[in-house]
Symmetry: C2
Subunit: 431 residues, 2 copies
């Protein structure tokens, strides 16, 4: 296997999942999710070895159609639903609710991102769930959280970015441009909420399942275990990323402002344009690094210039400094520039697009870009598992399956339903 091709085709199609080998092997998690946040949380749990069963409406999760299509299907689905078994249920039908509770009985956790209160209306409230499965961990992801004055407001991922205080910062400095602040470019609030939900689920399961401590005593039935509810808001997940902005506002009254491609408190660091249009990120924001940059630029006089003497002065004159550096970088093609600055011992990289990521020797060497066989698409590139555990990459056990692909297997294996019973459910529009 070479360093420059994706690691070998190592997934298998179909519904018979081999057992996971990650640290969470042995856990079974039910997903009542759609779109991004809850499905991403369970994807992460599945990546780490948990068995995932996803329940969709008979029409399928709308996210199956998101993004670009290949042979009529969204390639993202191959990744987003990997390591999951997918079954359909029309939750408006009482038989479907009974099936959910039957599955819950055999699961350790449930992850959902319905609007707050909606599962209660369907007969799947906290009490019903914990009656079916004492000790269940219920993770709920929503726009604003499960309580408070805004809990019923409609929320989109982009709203979470804006309310979480991040959109204000993804902009050029005030007065630079009439353009709007940019979106982070991905559904950041959803993804970060998904990671937090996974963290909450595993934390609650550690407390529930640990030997000794406040887990069940040896002579105590598992039914005595208390359940746990995890409540993750998109807005709060984004807000959690703001570092010192809140304490600085509280003590000093200062409102953090956007700094464009730079950093408000350190200079120079930015993505400078090379002659061929490639952007090269150069982070020379310490005195020793700035010294190296000035030498590499052949402009040692910059080191004597009081405008650029020390970080504080450089920050104060960052526009002039960035213009000087940008004038210099425009004389090189991107690849040559990256090489030159790197050789000078300055942290530096061209700004990667997805083609750069897919070809990166480090990502390839660590299994972060993997060619996986998918029955719908042939070979699909999958991102690897984060975090790595004991050096293992946990190749996908399966790719995202078709709508209802696992109806029979799951209803049979977990609930003991026979073909006739399953046919009745299908005829009645329950599955």
């Amino acid at each position: 296997m070479s360093d420059t091709t994706p690691q070998g085709s190592d997934a298998m199609p179909g519904t018979a999942l081999p057992a996971g080998t990650g640290p969470l092997a042995g856990l079974r998690v039910l997903e009542l999710g759609h779109f991004v946040a809850a499905p991403f949380a369970t994807r992460l749990l599945g990546d780490l070895g948990a068995e995932i069963i996803k329940i969709e409406p008979p029409g399928g999760d709308p996210v199956r159609q998101w993004g670009a299509r290949h042979q009529g299907h969204a390639p993202w689905w191959s990744v987003h639903a990997r390591n999951k078994r997918c079954i359909t249920l029309d939750l408006k039908k009482p038989e479907a609710v009974a099936i959910v509770l039957g599955l819950v009985r055999q699961c350790d956790a449930l992850v959902e991102n319905f609007r707050p209160g909606q599962l209660d209306k369907l007969g799947l409230g906290r009490e019903a769930l914990l009656k079916a499965r004492p000790g269940l961990v219920i993770a709920r992801i929503s726009g604003y959280g499960q309580d408070g004055p805004y809990r019923d407001k409609p929320a989109f991922g982009v709203i979470g970015e804006a309310i979480g205080g991040l959109r204000h910062l993804t902009d050029h400095p005030p007065g630079t441009s009439d353009l709007p602040p940019v979106r982070v470019g991905v559904s950041l609030g959803d993804s970060v909420a998904g990671i937090y939900a996974a963290l909450g689920v595993v934390s609650a399961l550690w407390r529930r399942d640990k030997a000794g401590g406040d887990g069940p005593a040896p002579d105590q039935a598992p039914t005595q275990r208390p359940g746990t509810e995890i409540d993750v808001a998109l807005t709060e997940s984004v807000f959690s990323l703001l570092e010192g902005a809140l304490p600085e506002y509280g003590t000093l009254g200062s409102i953090r402002q956007p700094a464009g491609g730079g950093i408000a408190t350190a200079a120079p660091t930015n993505a400078y344009r090379a002659r061929d249009g490639i952007r090269v990120l150069i982070a020379a924001n310490s005195d020793p690094l700035f010294r190296r940059l000035a030498m590499a630029m052949g402009q040692p006089d910059l080191l004597e210039d009081p405008r650029f003497s020390g970080n504080q002065a450089r920050v104060a004159h960052v526009r002039e400094l960035d213009a000087l550096i940008g004038g210099w970088t425009a004389g090189f093609d991107g690849a040559a520039l990256e090489e030159l600055v790197t050789q000078a011992g300055i942290p530096c990289t061209r700004v990667f697009n997805i083609a750069d990521c897919a070809a990166d020797p480090q990502f390839l060497a660590r299994g972060m870009v993997r060619a996986v066989q998918d029955p719908l698409h042939g070979e699909v590139l999958h991102p690897g598992v984060v975090p790595r555990v004991d050096g293992a990459g946990f190749p996908p056990r399966s790719t995202g399956p078709a709508v209802g692909a696992d109806n029979e297997a799951v209803l049979r294996d977990l609930l003991g339903l026979d073909a006739g019973a399953i046919e009745t459910l299908r005829a009645g529009g329950v599955i």
Copy 2:
């Protein structure tokens, strides 16, 4: 307590930490971290109840000086090191290494973000750590990961964003502007890596500590427990957020491009400018929502316009559409605009800066903005704990302490050292 003031001052200063009450209460975690990623990971674990001991060089973690200052100190530290006990050690001294191993013996996990291999050189490699504490979970955070051709390259958070493929997307569409792509505005790679590290630590501890399974049998000494190494790279943490970009590139060869303030596949959604300069995010990117927006604008003719009929057409003509909407929004002040669009049933919010976040009734009602007493600053606003667990917000048990504040207490309580021994260590420059 009112909905419009931060929840009451509920932290206490000093080094005697009350036991945590979150799901991770009972765990003890050692931090050998600096800057953002590893300290953020342990902050999250501490938020959820774990006891954290942070080891710093005698000069302190440089992050103590980051950001704005209040009374000579960075307010961020109050948050970044909350719920931690901080001790100093000069790791170049053998006595210090012995102390680390003595502490490791009494910890469940260690989180570090030294350059790969550096702890080995100090005598704190995997073997030494696991000998001191069988079953230890070791989480390592680095720029590029613990192996592979780039493991020794210097890395900054901004480099992680660029190599992870995100910086390319936080930009206006190609051809819109000469400005560089913007930074996300926070050290996103560090923070996301920190969350992943916390998830990895707890996952490994679940496996280690669960009753039954492959945990130690009842008659097996805890020394039989296998250790686990968690390996988190900043670059990979960012790369993990790219949704469908990699599988779409692999199957279709398409390279995802930035979409500025919008979304490449749905329109209209953007942050439009109001008369008073406030940006208002309006997400009307479905047919029913667009209908409501056109009616709210008093321009029902937009619904008949073939350029805007259906999402695909709207995406194709997004610049014209955004200009039309922006022309309309410029006729209102931000507050009136937000009210009007919200009343029309369209997801909408002004773009929050940190002052908006701090005053938001929902954040306040859910304890996401808390006034906490800090001995250095008086009252400091702290963000709450994400995720919420069983409705509890887990108020901080302490604020970030001074350098070496817990030297005596930790060395005495955990290692049994007396005042004389501690004084010898101090005189020798070990602490």
